[in-house]
């Protein structure tokens, strides 16, 4: 089971996150200050850390992160912050954070991102798998950027290809619209989730042809999942 460490000083927020992650199937440990957070993280055994940017006491979020990375502890860290400004985000990621989420956020967003981080950590790191992604009968050739489903070649415009590639790299996982926007468009913030929906709709029409089983599924209120046909 995935074990998550939550470092968050606000008791209510911590409780809510704990409940949401527990429901999602994570094992959760909570601490409410940077010092305890560091001690726990040094103790090890966590797959991922959710770290609040602002913490009371001598060690704040960035302090914890810097100390962890200085001690060569590579547990993925997702930073939670009320500071949404782009430079704050850059600061957080530069200090060694793996992802950054601005409060207020939706829990599906948090869990989806945690899933992605955990997956990235547990996925076997091999070089050769990089040339080809395969899920069910859907195949993406990363070298000549062609997509095939069974015998059918699918023509995609570059953006659709990028969307599909991102979904293929996270098979079976919920990918939120914001995550897609960040990964595919390289801009960090957007409220226009309906536009992403339209892009996905186009992609879906091409990937899930008539008479074929659906592979791109919509998760209501959250995002999308790419699943192999049963």
């Amino acid at each position: 089971m995935t074990h998550v460490l939550i470092v968050e000083d606000d008791a209510t927020t911590a409780e809510e996150i704990e409940a949401a992650l527990f429901d999602h199937g994570f094992e959760v440990t909570c601490v409410d200050n940077g010092r305890d957070g560091l001690l726990q993280a040094f103790g090890g055994g966590f797959d991922i850390i959710v770290l609040d940017r602002m913490l009371p006491g001598a060690v704040d979020g960035l302090g914890v992160l810097t100390a962890l990375r200085a001690a060569s502890i590579t547990t993925p860290v997702l930073i939670l912050s009320a500071l949404g400004a782009l430079d704050e985000r850059v600061k957080g990621l530069r200090a060694g954070g793996d992802d950054y989420l601005t409060k207020p956020f939706e829990f599906v967003e948090l869990t989806a991102r945690l899933d992605a981080l955990v997956r990235r950590r547990t996925a076997p790191v091999t070089q050769e798998r990089e040339s080809r992604l395969k899920l069910g009968n859907l195949e993406v050739d990363l070298l000549d950027r062609t997509v095939r489903r069974g015998d059918r070649t699918i023509d995609l415009v570059p953006r659709e290809y990028a969307l599909l590639e991102h979904l293929m790299r996270n098979p079976g996982q919920v990918v939120t619209r914001t995550m897609l926007f960040e990964a595919v468009w390289n801009y960090s913030y957007d409220e226009r989730t309906n536009v992403i929906e339209v892009h996905i709709g186009r992609l879906r029409r091409k990937v899930d042809g008539e008479g074929e089983e659906q592979m791109i599924h919509t998760v209501r209120g959250a995002g999308y999942v790419l699943r192999a046909p049963e």
Partner: protein
């Protein structure tokens, strides 16, 4: 009105500056005058001494008998006693001349002064020189220096009275300057006090002559303009937030209460929950957008500016919205500028701004309309232009649409939180760009244009 206490004047800067200048001027006045005085005195003295030498030289060339006659004749000619002479024997007895007694002297051929008792009973200061002839007789040659003295005195007198006048005029001038400065500052500070007490529409008075205080007042006034705008905006935003959020909150609560009141089946509950969550999400999104705008307005973010090509931003935005436009049968065209439209800015924010403009254009235009996003490079700098052939924005509303949470009457039925254009306006302000809505007849043209030439 304002009474200025005399005791306050010495504390004013103008008065002190006045005093400083008075001091400086007085010092140079003294130095100049003293120098002239000194030079004049030296000149007059040496002239006198030269004439004494000439008198002695004249007498020395004469034989003793002639000398005596000449001294007597000189006495007769010089009735006023301006150049009195006296001839004495080697023993100091008076031989001839108007000077009866030998004055005390230390050296021959050296000028000295003594008070001479003139026949007639009054004394004059004379400058004299003693000379001893070869035969032992002694000549006292002299010159009345009374006039020179008087001239000297006159000079000193002029110095003193001139200096006094200077001092008085200078002091009065300083006081007048201090007084007027003090009055002006009092006017300014009373206006400022008025503003502090809450009258934000108050402005500092200016004289229109663009002097230093005027310039300062102008700067402060433009600061007050901005403050007033911000204050009224904040107030407007508070009102609008309260007003705008009341509706979804009421809906949310009403839905929940209805669910509580009635006995519902399970899927009805699910439905209620679903709509409550949607409602709450909408609220969250409004808040997020509000936070985003205030974040943009924090102009410290300018430190993150980098070189951005608006052609890339425009292309990204157009590409992003193209499917949405296509879905509604619209044509969305992107027209890049022929030359690179490079400016210093935040790509993320400019992209957001372009997206908001396109979003609006698509949202408010009827199906099958044409929308164009154009990148322009003008002398003032690069800019973005979004044109649609939709209903346009009425002239009266073209300023108001940039206000936070403003929804025009015609847009009440569309989705949105009335923050899109405010966000674009915030981005424009941060980038020192101008944002204007024009009539594209038919339709609407929004220009986001650079104001300054980018480096």
């Amino acid at each position: 009105m304002f009474s200025v206490h005399l005791s306050e004047i010495p504390r004013t800067t103008s008065f002190r500056t006045g005093l400083k200048f008075l001091g400086l001027f007085g010092f140079s006045f003294l130095a100049l005058f003293g120098y002239i005085y000194w030079q004049t005195a030296v000149y007059l003295k040496s002239e006198t001494d030269a004439s004494l030498h000439r008198q002695i030289d004249n007498r020395r060339l004469q034989p003793p008998l002639l000398r005596k006659q000449e001294v007597i004749r000189h006495e007769l000619q010089d009735a006023e006693g301006r150049w009195p002479q006296g001839l004495f024997s080697a023993q100091g007895e008076h031989i001839a001349g108007v000077i009866q007694t030998m004055p005390p002297y230390l050296e021959y051929e050296k000028a000295d002064e003594f008070r001479w008792e003139k026949p007639g009973g009054y004394t004059r200061t004379i400058r004299f020189m003693a000379h001893r002839f070869d035969d032992g007789e002694i000549l006292i040659a002299s010159q009345d220096v009374h006039d020179i003295r008087e001239f000297d005195e006159l000079l000193v007198h002029a110095l003193v009275s001139g200096g006094g006048l200077l001092l008085v005029v200078g002091l009065l001038g300083s006081i007048a300057m201090g007084y007027s400065a003090r009055r002006r500052l009092d006017t300014l500070s009373s206006s400022i006090k008025g503003i502090i007490e809450g009258d934000l529409s108050g402005r500092l008075p200016t004289r229109g002559n663009l002097d230093d205080i005027d310039r300062l007042a102008n700067v402060v006034n433009s600061m007050l303009d901005e403050l007033e705008r911000l204050m009224s905006e904040v107030k407007g935003v508070c009102d609008d937030i309260a007003h705008d959020l009341r509706t979804p909150l009421t809906r949310l609560i009403a839905g929940l209460e209805r669910a509580q009141r009635r006995e519902l089946r399970e899927d009805d509950y699910a439905q209620t929950l679903e709509s409550a969550i949607t409602e709450a999400r909408g609220l969250l999104q409004t808040f997020r957008a509000l936070l985003r705008i205030s974040e943009i307005e924090d102009s410290a973010r300018r430190s993150n500016f980098a070189r951005v090509d608006l052609n890339l931003i425009g292309a990204d935005a157009a590409e992003f919205f193209e499917p949405l436009a296509e879905e509604r049968g619209m044509t969305l065209t992107f027209e890049p500028s022929p030359s690179p439209a490079v400016m210093s800015g935040d790509a993320q924010m400019l992209f957001d701004a372009a997206c908001n403009l396109l979003d609006n254009a698509i949202k408010f235009s009827p199906d099958n309309s044409r929308i164009q996003i154009t990148v322009l490079v003008l002398p003032e700098g690069p800019g973005l232009r979004v044109t649609d052939n939709g209903p346009g924005i009425p002239e009266a509303e073209r300023e108001a649409v940039f206000r936070r949470l403003y929804r025009s009457e015609s847009s009440r039925h569309t989705t949105g939180n009335g923050l899109g254009l405010s966000m674009v306006a915030a981005v424009a302000r941060l980038h020192d760009m101008s944002l204007k809505v024009h009539d594209a007849s038919p339709g609407c043209r929004v220009d986001l244009m650079g104001k300054t030439v980018s480096a």
